[in-house]
Symmetry: C2
Subunit: 325 residues, 2 copies
């Protein structure tokens, strides 16, 4: 059977990468009339219940694999629960939405301590409760590799904010921490446990959930949560919007804990800020600086063109290549 | 920190089992006012968007692990896609609902052929299309163990049918195949590839999706899809409804392929029917036989009491114990 994807598709996932696979899949998936926004953004938007009186529902799913996304010796079960829930809650916030419910699929070895599974669930439930969401269901299956897949449902009060609405002349603004979780991960991976604040930031990110709907109400034209790293995620916005984005290095102050980690590990702390993911900061574009709310920092500008630059030049990318994570 | 679950909880998941974990978790999860039906049924029912004008959305999630739920040498990627999608679509059908959208999280080794992932997705999309649903999003992460987690969103035209509404005097009726997928799995696991029809039934179940909403409209009082086996799943209904259920052995005819498999493997084909899961037949209770639609078969009765019996006696359970699957 001839397949339009066969020719030219990379032979395996490691070569193709997550985004390559999503692009390839999206190319042949057909979307029903109830799908208002399909794959490719932080969440999809679906009209559930059919017809014009159907309700618009946001949905997003994220998987986490032990040894790759979390380690039981680095994070408590409750920490892991907070973290995997945060990734989903933040995806919906980045659309300007709020999460109502989570479901979780757990693939776990038979010798997983029951207490670990209970604590994991409690962590997820506690994180969900910060936005008023509940864990409403799940599935538990046996696997030799502990794997969690969390799906969030929610809605927007107004129109969703996608990655694709940035326009030349918009300003780029940011709320939340950058580089802290990455600094924590770097510290842990070298066998240290301090600075405590960055280790904690890795274990339990504190995404600014409420700022997503607030930015939507304030007229944000595009938004994304920073999970792959600021420059990478702004790259998604640039592609989806068909624009160029320039980030201004001087707009970032480097917090003391990141300076300490940078000095200890011999890395430029600004690279932690520009490339570090998983703090789930929100970055959005606004038509004018006056629309940027208190608490946000303007960090760049949108222009005609393509790609992401830092102070007008291509970023020095010292981040390790990440096929999919 | 004292934990109410710590005392008495089995030490690990293998001892506790899927249902034990779900019970333990459900005991401490709190559900927000937007949760109309929480964990413990085929799907949860959530009011998304807040307030009285929120829309009621059904959601269900299911995970499948390579080597445990599917094998790449036994099923094509498209087969696996059909099968994992069917499990979710069937869960919503068993509530009387119809699926609008699926999201899928894929944890896959880097050497997974791209074509396999594309074919998997195509299989899921084709199965979803049989009920008018679309795949609207997903996540791809790296793992040494290929794991799929599919979540379905949908809605009911009327009230949902739970597991908990069966009443003494109701009749139990069934639509769809039983034992075929189990027979196919038994054949494959012994190194055979025939009878072809049962192998195909394992690879691509054909759940009677439309019968779920039809049964709801006809007044079904309780419903479940048969994924763990008829007696096991009726056991869930009996517990949730606080009733006893008796199944009549003579109501089942044994199709020729199951007779052939039974003879070849030395098993009683009726046990395939009573214990075999994953054909995703629908079994429901109705207040009277007149409410049972064409195509359904009456297979038992609901009475006061508890537990599931076959012809009035405890079932001979020769099925292997299944902790979680």
């Amino acid at each position: 059977m001839a397949d339009p994807q066969r020719t030219g598709a990379s032979a395996d996932l490691a070569a193709l990468g997550e985004f390559g696979l999503i692009d390839a899949v999206s190319a042949f998936l057909t979307q029903g009339s109830d799908v208002l926004l399909g794959p490719g953004d932080d969440a999809a938007l679906v009209r559930v219940g059919g017809g014009a009186d159907g309700r618009e529902v946001l949905v997003s799913t994220d998987a986490a694999v032990e040894g790759r996304h979390f380690r039981r010796d680095w994070s408590s079960a409750e920490d892991v629960g907070h973290r995997v829930a945060a990734a989903n809650l933040s995806d919906l916030a980045a659309m300007g939405g709020t999460t109502t419910a989570l479901v979780v699929a757990i693939a776990a070895p038979g010798d997983l301590p029951t207490q670990w599974a209970l604590d994991l669930t409690r962590g997820m439930a506690d994180e969900a409760a910060t936005v008023g969401a509940s864990i409403v269901g799940g599935d538990v299956v046996e696997s030799d590799r502990l794997t969690l897949a969390v799906t969030a449902l929610g809605a927007c009060a107004g129109a969703v904010v996608t990655r694709g609405g940035a326009r030349p002349g918009d300003v780029v603004a940011l709320v939340g921490r950058l580089g802290w979780a990455e600094a924590g991960l770097s510290v842990l991976s070298r066998g240290f446990r301090s600075p405590r604040v960055v280790v904690e930031a890795h274990r339990r990110p504190e995404p600014p959930y409420a700022e997503g709907p607030a930015a939507a109400a304030a007229g944000a034209t595009a938004m994304i949560d920073v999970s792959d790293g600021l420059l990478a995620d702004l790259g998604h916005v640039a592609v989806a919007s068909g624009v160029a984005i320039d980030v201004t290095r001087a707009s970032f102050s480097v917090p003391e804990p990141l300076q300490a980690v940078g000095a200890a590990l011999g890395v430029n702390p600004l690279n932690l800020i520009l490339h570090g993911g998983e703090d789930h900061a929100l970055v959005a574009t606004f038509p004018e600086e006056a629309a940027v709310q208190a608490g946000w920092t303007v960090v760049g500008q949108v222009a005609e063109g393509e790609g992401v630059t830092v102070d007008g030049a291509p970023p020095e990318d010292d981040a390790a290549p990440r096929h999919y994570r």
